[in-house]
Symmetry: C2
Subunit: 365 residues, 2 copies
């Protein structure tokens, strides 16, 4: 993938678009997809945009058996001037390559991958939804395709990008969620794959999630795998707490995903001169702060929901109600600022947004 000549085959007919006012997350896909193949000795080759279509894979393909796969998640937003903006896509491409490294998958050229993404978006530009709070969710992923039942890195891969128009994560804007602190199951541990965005981390999380949902909680808060003591993150969000005026988030210890939203929030908070601290935080200490009346806010952060306030945390039979179960002031301000930057309605002091120029589609014409 040192040079990217993308072969484009347009769909002969376009799908009916879903109602942009009532989009479900991750259920509708656009008319096209991007694919590039990797073959050992040859590198990445045959980059192409094709009609969205099933993959045809040998049942012995290694991804099915040994889970050698990584993915990313980011969004494109339509501004009121009809521009399409990406939010820090370089961060996702960098993380993709960090995940690749952990999973023994060959790296991709980050710039070329971004260029491919932009071209794909242009082909499906009408799919960037227009309603308030909607966006085009982007899912790049790589799967191991060699048909071989041996545990070793695959000699063949496919890097694919698919697109899905999505609604606001919470229908009526941001709304506090109830989260259960997980005591039995563990998502990741130091030395494992927790800081890579790879399928197995999510497969392992389903069971805890299922139990929590039965108890009326929407997600679990994971503790560390070594001592079951230190706070890590939520299902697909990093976690922040406002404790006595200071904003605290768990430090990146190697088992937590390095969220792009997390990083953006840390930068915003510093820019606003709000005290922040990335550190190890035990559940006991958090509970103590709560008891002392110092736990002012809690919120999760991630691409899908942007900011998700936590109204209640369940821990060892105790229900910790945070900020009276209401969205906190800081969470609201962060949500408004971040979504404002993403949509181009707020100034972008960090240069986070990247325009998808219409001429990216030059080689289409």
């Amino acid at each position: 993938m040192t040079e990217l000549k993308i072969d484009i085959t347009l769909a002969s007919s376009r799908k009916q678009k879903p109602d942009f006012d009532h989009l479900e997350f991750g259920k509708n896909f656009t008319d096209h997809m991007f694919i590039v193949d990797y073959t050992e000795g040859q590198g990445w080759h045959d980059a192409r945009i094709v009609p969205y279509q099933p993959l045809t894979l040998d049942p012995a393909s290694m991804v099915f058996h040994y889970g050698q796969t990584v993915f990313e998640g980011l969004k494109a937003y339509l501004t009121k001037d009809n521009e399409v903006l990406l939010f820090r896509p370089d961060m996702n491409m960098k993380r993709l390559n960090r995940s690749n490294d952990r999973l023994c998958i060959p790296k991709v050229d980050e710039e070329l991958a971004l260029s491919a993404l932009k071209q794909l978006i242009n082909v499906d530009r009408e799919w960037v939804p227009t309603s308030e709070g909607t966006s085009l969710y982007i899912r790049p992923f790589i799967i191991a395709t060699e048909p071989y039942l041996g545990v070793s890195p695959s000699k063949r891969y496919k890097f694919i990008i698919i697109l899905s128009p999505v609604g606001a994560y919470y229908k009526e804007g941001i709304n506090p969620v109830k989260i259960a602190v997980e005591r039995e199951y563990v998502r990741a541990t130091i030395g494992g794959t927790g800081n890579a965005k790879t399928a197995g981390n999510y497969a392992g999380s389903l069971k805890a999630q299922e139990v929590a949902e039965k108890d009326g909680y929407s997600q679990v808060l994971w503790l560390d795998g070594r001592e079951n003591k230190y706070i890590e993150e939520v299902g697909s969000m990093n976690i922040f707490f406002k404790i006595n005026g200071e904003v605290v988030t768990p430090i990146l210890n190697g088992s937590i995903l390095e969220g792009v939203t997390r990083d953006s929030i840390l930068q915003l908070l510093k820019y606003w001169n709000i005290p922040v601290s990335e550190r190890r935080l035990s559940m006991e200490d958090l509970y103590q702060a709560y008891k002392d009346g110092q736990l002012e806010e809690a919120f999760g952060t991630g691409t899908a929901a942007v900011i998700s306030p936590v109204g209640e945390l369940a821990w060892q039979g105790e229900k910790m109600v945070i900020n009276n179960g209401q969205t906190g002031e800081l969470a609201k301000k962060l949500y408004d600022t971040l979504t404002g930057i993403q949509l181009g309605t707020e100034p972008d002091p960090f240069g986070w947004t990247v325009k998808v120029a219409k001429q990216e589609s030059a080689n289409l014409l």
Copy 2:
């Protein structure tokens, strides 16, 4: 899957069989495969044996993104009387369901799955290889196929069985391997998915394996994820040590796979009145035993290699040479006995082998 009517479509032409004297592991597949689909609300349906063929899957299929998948591995052996024997297949089907439970995948009916397997083997009976040390490796696996980019259990699955004729794991019988004790990476931790046979465990292991191979070791020995102290298992084998006359293997603590070979060996050893102990064993204690001249043998156990003697263990810069790097007497005896039972040349006091009767194929005729 309460009743199993398997629809059989035979391949119109048969593939050229590989040279059974020079089989590579997991690279050749037989003419047919078994598939049954699961749809929420409907259960398992449409059981069929079809020509071995690619799977056609939506790129949003959950297995690619969230790794919801489990698998098994067992073998069929051809006896000198032309019988096909399976080795404790009920154990694999039980473990498949334990894995299913951990991964939130609907259970399969173990008896019906076994019956499907037998029918598939009968259709491809000529593929059970005939040369010394060869066998038919069987890979049942389940993948989540719902096209949905949300982290929750899939509403659709495929349970598939494919077959691969394989050679002896080590070309010249059993041969001691060199293994590096892993210090940096962790395979699994208590509360994680270590005791389930699921793809993510193997994906996460590739990196350590790659590093070890560069250093001239064929596998890594994993330590526990909490303290990095206690011995767990090898890549795809459980581990045993003979220490001062006693055979020791790590106890099933929730993060180790419950190997069928491990269980069989424990039973054999007890039957032979050899002292055995399943317990927590630290690397320090093992090293001390080695220093004291009490570490008499070490060997890995698993379906692929059956018994794999360990001739050298590398730990913290120290090379522990075990039994002069030679195959130990006990390892040899266990290998001969187990493979003898599997091939029907030794008595089977535990009733471990299961015949694949030719009339399993009744509904073929």
